[in-house]
């Protein structure tokens, strides 16, 4: 007779899976499917959230156009991720600290960065990274996952300083494979640091699909190893994203430590504007499937049914946003030209002889 196995691995795995159901409130057709957990948002707030999402979609479309015209540099498309980005940000306060990835420009602007500065950042102008004192954010991280550990450091500092601010940071499904992501969560868990970690799971690490990145059924379960709560949420559903984020922020602010939130979302376009053709690795069916889950479509339906949203209202937001972007692009064009000598001067507080000689050499060239 076969001896009993010490552990039932299959049961263990399926019980783990059951721990991370995807939280949803608004289904793809704009119907409320989970009334019990409806967030406490006033009509005005609901409308404001929709306005921000429409604003973000227009910002995306104009950024793509400006990039094509050579008026922007690097740009990572955001269309499809509006609920994941704007509804999560909606749950934070001005005093909270944002550590964004390169795709998280909409949250940065909503947190207080001028659009013209975001454009300057995209164009590689240092003024784009010169943040005002009252903007609690750092410039977008390009190195995958690195923001998780830096955000953790910020959150540990908030706690030691007895601040009531919460830190929040974003990476993607691709970034969740980096060691830094685990180290950030583990360290934050150990210190019960007030931080909310986001994995915006948009299905692709550039070309590598989600299922080829990890055997974990839910990326949210990576939180378990760090001893912190992990939640998977429908990232195309602004109400669910907001509700879960609000709960996580309250939890962290109350001194309970970090939370990891995985938003299930999709990017409708390429990874970035740097030569990427998504049709090489992604099927038309995948695009169609996700476009039917467009967060703007379902939220528009929901608000229209409630009598809170009209076509005219949306047109008004679109026009206002187009004008804002036009002005920001103009403002960015007026930034002073950069100089190598200034770059050299910014390397050290007190440049050594070697750098001083190089500064002198470039100043002489630049004055010609």
């Amino acid at each position: 007779m076969a001896k009993k196995q010490p552990v039932d691995f299959e049961a263990l795995m399926s019980s783990l899976e059951a721990l991370y159901p995807m939280v949803q409130i608004l289904d793809k057709d704009g119907n409320i499917v989970n009334e019990d957990i409806m967030p406490d948002l006033s009509d005005d707030q609901l409308v404001e959230l929709m306005e921000r999402m429409v604003w973000s979609r227009i910002l995306h479309e104009r950024s793509m156009a400006l990039a094509r015209q050579g008026r922007l540099g690097f740009y990572a498309p955001t269309a499809g991720q509006e609920a994941s980005q704007l509804a999560s940000h909606f749950a934070f306060e001005k005093k909270d600290w944002l550590y964004p990835g390169y795709r998280d420009i909409p949250q940065l602007i909503q947190h207080g960065l001028k659009v013209s500065q975001a454009f300057l950042w995209s164009r590689g102008h240092v003024e784009g990274n010169n943040y005002p004192e009252d903007l609690n954010a750092v410039p977008p991280q390009i190195i995958i996952g690195a923001q998780y550990i830096q955000a953790m450091g910020n959150a540990v500092g908030q706690k030691l300083n007895k601040s009531d601010a919460v830190t929040f940071t974003y990476t993607g499904d691709g970034g969740s494979s980096q060691g830094d992501v685990y180290e950030g969560m583990n360290f934050a868990g150990r210190y019960k640091a007030p931080i909310v970690f986001f994995i915006q799971n948009n299905g692709y690490a550039i070309s590598t699909p989600r299922e080829k990145q990890s055997a974990a059924k839910a990326l949210a379960q990576k939180a378990a190893a760090a001893g912190i709560p992990g939640v998977q949420v429908d990232g195309m559903d602004p109400l669910a994203v907001y509700a879960v984020t609000k709960q996580a922020r309250d939890w962290a602010a109350a001194g309970n430590g970090p939370v990891l939130i995985e938003t299930i979302t999709s990017r409708f376009g390429p990874h970035s504007t740097s030569g990427d053709d998504p049709t090489r690795y992604r099927s038309q069916e995948s695009f169609d499937y996700w476009e039917q889950r467009d967060p703007l479509v379902r939220f528009r339906k929901f608000l229209t049914t409630k009598g809170l949203w009209t076509e005219e209202k949306e047109e008004e937001i679109i026009e206002k946003t187009m004008e804002e972007i036009k002005e920001a692009a103009k403002e960015a064009d007026q930034a002073p030209k950069q100089k190598i000598s200034n770059f050299l001067k910014s390397m050290f507080n007190e440049p050594g002889q070697n750098i001083q000689e190089q500064i002198a050499k470039y100043e002489a060239k630049e004055s010609k």
């Binding site: 590689g124 190195i143 070309s207 950069q338 390397m347």
Partner: protein
């Protein structure tokens, strides 16, 4: 038959052809890295390979540089011949422990008993507007640390021949390819990024520089893009009556100092051009070698053209301003020839 011999390929196709032929020859050869499958590598070096070899030998990995470079080390120590692609050399930061404390040291620490016949291929260089963390060459950073061969071929012919040598080499080889020399459609089109590549398998030895053009008045040493600029500069210098010799380093470790010293003995003048930070770089190493072993051959002080000690600017005009180019080489070589 003549036309067949004159087949031209871009840099990226020459590289993928080298990998393909070695994978056909030796089943121990496989590739792992980010976006190397259907995407074919961000800079095209594995284009088309997934179709022929499938996902077990062309492995798209999670974004875990430490993970897949460590995996390659493990595989190599058991006799496989992995090629790991680090998408941008700048990303060495997240995985330097595996590269330097392990890949470069295990053969030494095992007294030579453990061989690591692996290739770490990686995209280097700027000039196409990709900012401080995606535009470095870091040639000298790797060359400074003992235990790795470090090569940086320029032409499609050498990319193929040296990739074949790197795969067959029993030592870890850091194979740096320059993005702009891959001949990709979305990059600037350069004459040097396309060239004649024989269809048959051949190898080009690691550790040998190549004299691209012989000359008597001044020696210009470059590698990758600075060789490309040098090719244009020597033509213009020739028109101005200066007969320059151009050396393409091709390999940084081992460094072919004989070719450089022989040239300096002939010309008495040396200009080193490097797309890396000037301080403590290749240009300093070559200048030191010539000072130690060829000082009495020099008729003028050595000149260097390299990047100032500041990260690569994202701004296109400023990036172009600090990168070496043909015009700067012509100017420096002319000054040197007239000293």
């Amino acid at each position: 038959m003549e036309t067949e011999k004159k087949r031209s390929l871009t840099g990226n196709k020459a590289m993928s052809e080298a990998i393909r032929s070695e994978m056909e020859r030796d089943e121990n050869v496989f590739v792992l890295g980010e976006d190397i499958g259907e995407y074919g590598g961000i800079f095209g070096s594995t284009e088309g390979l997934i179709k022929q070899f499938g996902p077990e030998r062309i492995m798209d990995t999670p974004i875990s540089e430490t993970g897949f470079i460590g995996a390659a080390i493990g595989a190599a120590s058991e006799g496989m011949r992995p090629i790991a692609e680090l998408m941008f050399v700048d990303f060495f930061g997240v995985t330097m422990d595996q590269i330097y404390n392990h890949m470069a040291k295990i053969p030494y620490m095992s007294g030579g008993n453990v061989k690591l016949p692996m290739v770490l291929m990686t995209a280097v260089g700027g000039g196409y507007n990709d900012a401080a963390q995606h535009s470095q060459t870091l040639y000298a950073t790797f060359a400074h640390l003992p235990g790795m061969k470090v090569v940086a071929p320029t032409t499609p012919y050498d990319l193929k021949g040296m990739m074949i040598s790197a795969i067959r080499d029993d030592n870890p080889v850091v194979f740096m390819f320059h993005k702009t020399l891959q001949g990709l459609g979305w990059m600037d089109q350069l004459d040097t990024s396309i060239g004649q590549v024989p269809e048959e398998t051949y190898s080009v030895p690691l550790g040998k520089a190549k004299v691209i053009k012989e000359g008597t008045d001044v020696t210009i040493v470059g590698l990758q893009m600075t060789t490309h600029f040098g090719m244009h500069a020597v033509k213009e210098l020739e028109e101005n009556g200066i007969n320059a010799e151009l050396i393409d380093l091709r390999s940084i470790v081992p460094l072919d100092k004989e070719t450089i010293l022989r040239s300096v003995k002939k010309t008495g003048r040396l200009l080193i051009v490097d797309e890396d930070y000037k301080s403590f770089g290749i240009s300093a190493e070559i200048a030191a070698i010539v000072a130690e072993e060829g000082l009495y051959d020099l008729e003028a002080p050595i000149k260097r053209l390299a990047i100032p000690d500041v990260p690569i600017p994202y701004s296109r005009p400023l990036e172009q301003y600090i990168l070496p180019n043909a015009e700067k080489i012509v100017q420096a070589a002319t000054e040197l020839a007239n000293e």
